[in-house]
């Protein structure tokens, strides 16, 4: 943090007052290539040094939580797709688990396995975009295209499986909407075999590039205390050196049956919790996802994919529950209040990017403008789930 520290010190000197200069207020967004969607950051700068960041969100707000009050429990699944449009299956997963827990439904084994496979494929797809666009923020165009090459394969599998390429709406309360197609396991294994060979390619292309390390190591350091205070989860928290993952620490579905490690930041290239650590956590998580997929495919049983004792119009008994699952961005939580009816009384979506973005207001001041872009990129936000 030496540059940023000196930057702040410089700015606080009286020089500015003597020169009668003012801070420059500048809007990064809502139309800006580095904001990953329609986010507006109001940045106060002194030359290249950022003095204050205010995030203005809500450009994609549709009040999905209000819509939930008019849908029945199953219908609202469609809207969960729209939160994180880069990892809709992870959003589906959270909502399905939340409602199933309240209902006390046992999801069939086959459905659970396919769910895990889909969720992990989706996690890889989402991380590929995160890595690619992060490289793009650093000015490295090429890795993005390579990432999209592999993501394309995932989308092809999911398209064959669900019929959609972006929004799948495949999960249902109590299972899946329909069974996997013939040859699904083979496709998935083929992909995993390729994927595991491709990850070293990204490493040579981007991860250990000298300029890339210079740009990301020691930049945008978010430590554990800040993560806890600001509710940062997912790769941001793990990048800060905490091996916390809802899949292991608050298990849901059948994740407790699989063997996998939780990568976390160790400050290999700089400080623990810098942009490089967050980036590397994602890179290593793709390996772990591949491991989980292998195990899930090996263990994939036959049988039904829907809980049979469930009515079409689900009624959830009265009460409330906060359920969290691990999406690619972090902890996606659904705080659901049911009054016993066929519609959710109130569903609050605690989206990971919402909290992860908030921290930029804390860590932003003192950085250089380019570092701000790098940090926002490394948080991997999706505005769809922030604005809901």
């Amino acid at each position: 943090m030496s540059e940023t520290a000196t930057g702040r010190g410089w700015a606080e000197q009286d020089v500015r007052r003597e020169l009668h200069s003012e801070l420059l207020e500048i809007n990064m967004g809502p139309q800006h290539p580095a904001t990953h969607g329609v986010l507006r950051l109001l940045v106060r700068t002194d030359g290249e040094i950022v003095h204050g960041v205010t995030a203005h969100i809500g450009y994609l707000h549709r009040c999905a939580e209000k819509i939930a009050e008019g849908c029945d429990w199953r219908q609202w699944m469609v809207y969960t797709d729209r939160f994180d449009y880069l990892a809709p299956i992870n959003m589906n997963f959270g909502y399905a688990v939340a409602v199933e827990r309240m209902l006390g439904v046992q999801v069939p084994e086959r459905a659970e396995h396919i769910r895990v496979i889909c969720a992990e494929l989706q996690r890889i797809a989402s991380h590929l975009i995160a890595i690619g666009t992060f490289g793009l923020d650093m000015g490295a165009w090429t890795p993005l295209l390579y990432c999209f090459r592999e993501r394309e394969e995932i989308l092809n599998i999911l398209e064959r499986l669900t019929g959609g390429r972006m929004l799948y709406n495949y999960f249902d309360i109590g299972g899946l909407r329909f069974d996997a197609y013939e040859g699904f396991e083979r496709d998935v294994l083929d992909f995993v075999n390729i994927m595991e060979q491709k990850i070293p390619e990204y490493d040579t292309l981007l991860s250990y590039n000298k300029i890339f390390i210079e740009r990301t190591a020691d930049v945008g350091v978010i430590d554990v205390a800040t993560c806890r205070a600001y509710g940062c989860t997912g790769p941001v928290l793990r990048g800060a050196g905490v091996p916390f993952d809802c899949r292991k620490d608050d298990p849901y579905s059948i994740y407790d049956r699989f063997e996998f490690d939780i990568p976390y930041g160790e400050g290999e290239q700089g400080t623990v919790g810098d942009c490089w650590d967050r980036y590397m956590v994602r890179m290593r998580e793709m390996y772990e996802s591949c491991r989980i997929i292998r195990q899930a495919v090996d263990a994939l049983p036959g049988g039904p994919v829907k809980a049979e004792d469930l009515k079409k119009l689900v009624k959830v008994p009265q009460g409330s529950l906060y359920t969290r699952t691990e999406s690619s961005k972090g902890e996606i939580g659904y705080h659901i209040f049911a009054d016993g009816g066929s519609k959710p009384f109130r569903t609050k979506v605690r989206s990971p990017s919402f909290s992860n973005l908030h921290v930029i207001e804390k860590v932003g001041p003192g950085m250089m403008l380019s570092d701000l872009v790098a940090t926002v990129g490394s948080l991997d936000i999706v505005l769809g789930e922030i604005d809901r």
Binding site: P33, D137, M138, G139, A140, F212, R215, S370
Partner: protein, 349 residues
């Protein structure tokens, strides 16, 4: 210009006075240079997209012109000519309109002293190298004009970065050429090329270790000088939207583009002439000198494109760090080293 004046003299015989010959030759040469510049932009935009495509495991343009999209630049040009010329309401109109031409002219003027082939040089100046560095810094003025006149904060950022970078990197750029000037004892571009006669081992970049380092320094500084990746900070796509030319549209934008690719080729031409033997072939007698020269320069351009599509971008303070704390001292060491080498090997007069 020699070639042209001789040509005119042969055609018109004694019908043209020496002054007339000079004017006619000069005008023709200017026209040729402008055409070369336009051609550069056309060829290199296409090449850039193809190179990027190749590096990124995709095709690039494939449709227009049947074979690998060769007519894509033409289609682009037609499109860009048809664009509305928008000047922002709050922009400083005159500066805004003038800026692209300042950049363009600065680049065009430098072309005058590039020796493409024996005698094929628009202005055979004794101070050729010095002249090139002098006029090509006019681009910085154009960048600042564009950024300031746009009345857009992002443009201003791009402009300030661009000028800071341009002014800083001119120093290692010029310093890197000084050892060559010391060896040849001349700033005349023709003399510099002629001094490298006799095969690849006589080319300046292999003259001694210090010159090899100088060549590398020149190459790096030249990328920064033309604002291309990994030094493309003035137009950082992801930070400054498009930098100083954010607000430009249509033909004015095309002029920026034209100047960028012309500059790209220009710095490669200088490198070719100063370090890589100019029109001298790798071995053997001089053969198709113009083609040899252009081939070397184009290879350098391709190398720059390769770098651009492979490397991430530096941060602005790192950029300045590289310039002032690494490249300038190293260039000075090279100047000193080359001098000592000359003394030691008895080349010094």
């Amino acid at each position: 210009m020699q070639v042209m004046t001789e040509l005119f003299a042969r055609i018109f015989g004694d019908g043209l006075s020496p002054v007339g010959l000079l004017v006619a030759g000069g005008l023709t040469m200017a026209l040729v240079m402008s055409l070369v510049m336009a051609l550069c932009a056309i060829v290199f935009t296409w090449a850039e997209r193809k190179v990027a495509g190749f590096i990124q495991s995709r095709y690039g343009p494939m449709r227009v012109g049947r074979w690998h999209g060769v007519l894509q630049p033409v289609a682009d040009m037609v499109k860009i000519l048809g664009k509305e010329d928008i000047i922002p309401r709050d922009a400083d109109k005159r500066l805004f309109q003038l800026a692209p031409f300042v950049i363009f002219v600065g680049s065009l003027m430098a072309w005058a002293a590039i020796p493409f082939a024996p005698g094929f040089i628009a202005a055979d100046l004794d101070l050729g190298l010095f002249y090139i560095f002098a006029v090509s810094s006019a681009a910085s003025i154009g960048i600042l004009m564009a950024g300031w006149a746009s009345n857009n904060k992002w443009s201003l950022y791009g402009a300030v970065r661009g000028v800071a970078q341009g002014v800083s990197y001119e120093i290692p750029l010029a310093l890197a050429c000084i050892p060559v000037v010391m060896i040849t004892g001349s700033l005349n571009m023709n003399d510099i090329v002629i001094a490298q006669q006799g095969g690849i081992w006589r080319w300046h970049f292999l003259h001694d270790p210090f010159l090899f380092v100088s060549f590398l320094l020149y190459f790096v500084a030249s990328i920064a000088e033309v604002n291309r990746g990994p030094f493309d900070l003035p137009e950082t796509e992801s930070e400054l939207v498009a930098g100083y030319h954010t607000e430009y549209t249509g033909m004015r934008f095309a002029f920026f583009f034209l100047a960028e690719y012309a500059n790209l080729f220009l710095v490669s031409c200088i490198a070719t002439a100063v370090f890589l033997g100019g029109w001298q072939p790798v071995f053997g007698p001089v053969f198709l000198p113009g083609l040899v020269f252009v081939t070397k320069a184009v290879l350098l351009v391709l190398l720059q494109m390769w770098l651009r599509w492979t490397l991430p971008r530096l941060r602005v303070d790192q950029l300045m760090h590289v310039c002032w704390k690494v490249m300038v001292p190293l260039a000075l060491v090279c100047v000193l080293g080359a001098g000592i080498w000359m003394l030691a090997t008895g080349q010094a007069g």
